[in-house]
Amino acid sequence: MSVNHILPFLSTAIMLVFTVSVLQRFFVRRQPHFLFWGIGLAMFGAGSFAEAYLALAWNKWVFFVWYLFGAALNAAWLGHGTLYLLVRKKWVHAVTVVLVLGSLFAGYLMLQTMPKLDEAVFTTDRIISEQYGTKALEAGEPVPAGAQTITTTYRGEEVTAVRGILPLGAPVRLTTPFFNIYGLLTLVGGAIYSAYLFWRKRVMPNRVIGNVLIAAGALLIGFASTLTRLGYGEYLYLGELFSAILMFAGFRFAARPQPDEVMQPAPAAAD
């Protein structure tokens, strides 16, 4: 068992504590941003747990959870919580409808893909992020060491591809960038914006630092996911663990009560 088999368990434990902490605040304060953060964090935790499971054995529904919640949706739901905190306008509710419908559509596409999964390619010798996607090879492009290839028809052309669990061109994969762009803009952009507001006003240093940590944690997972897309999936789990630690630390830091705090109407990525 390698370090990469253990990291997702650690991330899962942190995300579980984080999720409970945020949802507790929602049940006390009834503010929607806590609900969306809680749902996004629960998705993050479910994705981490699915990774941990898939490091030991195959189960197609665990893979469903890993891809849909861990890879596609969680950043968007987390970011939507930040949007609710920063923008108190009615149009945010319309965005909520779009997010929910988009998430349901992604779930539908994932369900459509389930019978087409290439389960035979799965191995516990490699982490799931290195084996989930089928990638078409360019003419003359070398086959990565240890990879299995298939020849298949894709968009009317015969192509050689590195075998992966999800079929080549699976529509659900096209939805992922939409969710992740939205998640990046709202979660990272929102945390940077909040930190800037407090920094500019020279108040609440805990929220400045807290939001910097949240932004750094969210960026780290985005960066690790991008590396995965580029074929360096071995860094994903380490990135997830540090991301979970940074975001949890940021949340705790930003939420820390300060004695005789200045009343502050400006938004924050955590309160």
Binding site: L184, V212, G222, Q258, V262, M263
Partner: protein, 52 residues
């Protein structure tokens, strides 16, 4: 119980702090640039410019 409106040193950014004068603003700028880079990458995936 309402919170006190008076200013307090613990709720203000300390003057002359290296962390808040240098590290925080540089971090915010760097993270903003990295965020834009990741968004461009994701857009490249959507537009088919980045193979996956």
């Amino acid at each position: 119980m309402t919170r006190d409106n008076r200013t307090n040193s613990k709720s203000h950014i300390p003057k002359g702090s290296f962390l808040f004068e240098k590290i925080v603003p540089v971090s915010l700028v760097v993270m903003g640039v990295v965020m834009l880079g990741l968004i461009v990458f994701a857009a490249g995936v959507l537009l088919g410019l980045v193979k996956f």
